[in-house]
Symmetry: C2
Subunit: 509 residues, 2 copies
């Protein structure tokens, strides 16, 4: 069945003697891993949790994180992974909203429970690194809760990029369907080893389930660093990693990159934010023989919707079309994807509109938010809030978040297009373009730019640089030069935050 | 979405310019093929068919067969493929049972409509080889019926091996789920070309949908012959074929086998009845570099449940375990498979019981047969009627059909085990073992044997040969030597038919 329980049970029965986890900290077979999960499920139950109950999880990436998620599924409970970079009041809001009764955590986050915000929620603590191993050995395994594909499996709160967090309800069927879709797109096999490099509280980590499905194995990177990732890729003989573009850039910036033997690596799956084609080319050169597969997805789609066929990327070297590097690829099997205008009409290839999708991986809705659910999930279609277009070959090109689009003097401006032009300036390290209120034009374009360390740049330089590259009405005339941009855990620039900062501020230019 | 409509629409949009059909008769891209399907759907609708209506299909394998099935899905209709080897009264029973309003057919079967049995059903004829092309060009394409994954998509009547035909109700979700499961197991890609070698009225043909899902292409073999199959594999540059064991044997018996350049072929998927390991070894030698992947499935499971990992078969050459050749493999992703006794208890590895399954590919039930549906589909599990065991590594070994098992003197005898022993006699070409009524033992074992052409064999020879190879109580003491065994369209020996023939007959031995 398309449930997490069934997926794990099958892995134990089908691939029992094969490696499940091959980590610096521990290694186990699928039989051993499943045996631990079954006993961890009994521990959760011993805390008084009943099928359907939610519990929070806070931890660095590790096999324990995976274990406690699966233990939750096994017992019919609903794990709620928490972004540990949030402040205590934000964590309190999520834990409260989800109605969590327990917090499973690693040592690193034991203190969070003691903060005044969380203390008053009276959560039961379950420290996965203290007394847990002893309890595991002394606990009898639990029989699996017989979950159905339509049962709620996981509550994932979306990050800070879209205002107040909403809990996305993912069913067992959602997660396993996407695992199948991703396994097909990645051509996952039991010989694969997946590195959990992105934080495990993030939807991107669901990709790992594709490898559980086919009997591959897992390795975990507790916290991300360029050299740490390289060492893990080499030492754990990783074949596939999901990396955010900022992670790829950090790896490529390691001075001793060439010293790492990454012979096992076959595929880097990347997404979540745009990356300059030059970086992709640099990665292709640094990792010869490794496929780079760009994807696009959202928490609400469990998470992957589209992916590029690696063969088309490889074809660039044989004179193929380099435009593929800018594309998010094509819908995965089972995903219906269309581009619609604000009146719900399907648009023709080349026309820009909202990306609207349906499929077995589309979430059930938002937890306890009927209005927001009704607004986004309409007539069986999920409205992503992303603006994009399809080309004649069915390739998706994203142009902007719908709410990041700026309307200035009656013209729609996609800020990512403006940013792409600014990025071409050699002294620009990072850039974000937002709309700020403007008396004359309704909104005006505003650029926030981080210069390359040691280099100087001004907004005038930017204006000059953009002239001729993009239409005059797309050129930001105002802006700010800063040393850092606010970012989410996956490296997404937080434009909401920038809008808040610059909304009322008088700026010089 | 997990619908056939969505699958075809995605193929047209995603792989539009790539080949869909590459056949001796025609070739078309996914865009062209889908355009034809949309107009064929309009033709079906012009005959007065409404969403939910059934129509019969009778044809030799061809792109037209595929086209009319997809046209049915597109219009929200339910195709009912007919086994054209059945006699008119049997066809009448199926068409009547399904309530078909129209029969789409190729030239070869135009006469069937005129038989008295079918004439009185007053079916509308739709000849796909007469005036159809003109109608297609003059018809406007139909907008797709917005099918849901749980909607009935296809009615497949099970063959004559199990008594009177029953219509198996397959939903859109059933078929597409299995296409995904099979695509994963076969590692299907858009570079694959699938040869429709098995008759398209059979559930085995549903495998082709795995290649539609990933944007591969199709070729069709109108009627099977050893040299015809070899020519098609070569000329159409086929990469994957599904072959029944009898088909593999026919191909291997071609005297000029070595003259065919089959460089494109990468995978032979085979199943539906046991094949001697010696033949598999011969096939491995005849087709170096080609993977042989044994599978197991039923019409009720859309159709594939288990498959062997080709890597394990390849490993035989490196000293791996040859027992894998006798196994049906492991459950596909999303399939729960267990072995149960008659009281519904799960059995341990090694113990023989009924194969019981659940998963997204398990059919909705039998058409208009609530009692038979309730008997086979219980508590969310489908009872296959096949007897088997799992080993410690999760490999399935089938031992018999439940109703083919013979109980003689209180002992369970799996007839396939007895047959395997008989097959080791050099003069035996084919053999089937059944139970016949016996006054003393309840049932007695009865062997029906086809000798190798030009060789002689007697039942005494068989008894002598089996002694020491299998337990004495498993040795058939009675039997018959014949020139041919009754078989289904997929080459399955019809034991029901043998039981009918030999039930009341006095036999000499």
């Amino acid at each position: 069945m398309l449930t997490m329980t069934s997926t794990l049970e099958r892995a134990a029965r089908t691939f029992g003697a094969r490696p499940a986890i091959a980590d610096a900290r521990t290694s186990s077979t699928w039989a051993e891993h499943t045996s631990r999960v079954r006993r961890a499920a009994a521990i959760l139950q011993s805390h008084g949790l009943q099928p359907g109950d939610r519990f929070a999880v806070m931890g660095l990436n590790s096999h324990l994180y995976s274990e406690i998620l699966h233990a939750g599924y096994w017992a019919g409970l609903v794990p709620v992974p928490i972004n540990h970079r949030l402040a205590p009041p934000e964590i309190r809001q999520i834990v409260d909203d989800a109605g969590c009764k327990l917090l499973a955590h690693c040592n690193a986050f034991a203190k969070v429970l003691a903060t005044p915000e969380l203390a008053r929620l009276k959560l039961q603590p379950l420290n996965l690194e203290s007394d847990y191993e002893r309890r595991l050995t002394q606990t009898e395994p639990l029989a699996a809760h017989d979950a159905r594909p339509d049962d709620l499996a996981l509550l994932l709160f979306t990050g800070g990029t879209t205002g107040r967090s909403k809990g996305v309800c993912l069913s067992h069927g959602n997660i396993v369907s996407n695992a199948m879709q991703v396994a097909l797109a990645m051509r996952a096999t039991q010989d694969d080893r997946f590195l959990h490099a992105a934080p495990m509280f993030h939807a991107a980590d669901l990709l790992g389930n594709a490898f559980t499905l086919v009997g591959g194995s897992h390795a975990y990177l507790p916290t991300f660093s360029g050299d740490g990732a390289l060492a893990a890729l080499r030492d754990r003989q990783v074949t596939v990693a999901m990396l955010a573009p900022t992670m790829i850039i950090m790896i490529l910036q390691q001075p001793n990159l060439a010293n790492y033997d990454l012979a096992s690596l076959r595929l880097i799956f990347y997404g979540s934010s745009p990356i300059d084609a030059a970086w992709v080319r640099r990665a292709m050169t640094a990792f010869p023989g490794v496929d780079l597969q760009h994807n696009y997805g959202l928490t609400e789609t469990s998470p992957i919707l589209t992916a590029v066929d690696p063969a088309e990327v490889r074809a660039i070297f044989a004179g193929g079309n380099e435009a593929i590097l800018l594309s998010a690829g094509r819908p995965l099997a089972g995903v219906d994807l269309t581009i619609r205008d604000d009146d719900g009409n399907d648009l023709a290839p080349g026309e820009v509109g909202e990306v609207v999708v349906r499929g077995p991986n589309v979430a059930m809705g938002y937890f306890n938010r009927p209005d927001e659910t009704a607004a986004a999930f309409r007539d069986g279609w999920f409205h992503t809030g992303d603006m994009g277009r399809l080309d004649d070959n069915g390739l998706l090109f994203l142009v902007d978040r719908k709410k990041d689009m700026v309307i200035t003097g009656g013209e729609n401006v996609y800020t990512t297009e403006v940013e792409a032009a600014i990025y071409l300036h050699p002294n620009v390290q990072e850039a974000a373009v937002i709309g700020v209120p403007d008396e004359k034009y309704g909104e005006a374009l505003f650029a926030v730019v981080v210069p390359v360390p040691g280099k100087a740049i001004s907004i005038d330089d930017i204006v000059e640089h953009c002239r001729g590259r993009i239409g005059a009405y797309k050129i930001p005339r105002r802006g700010d030069i800063v040393t850092e941009l606010p970012k989410s855990a996956m490296g997404k620039i937080l434009k909401n935050e920038l809008r808040r900062i610059y909304a009322g501020r008088e700026t010089k230019f």
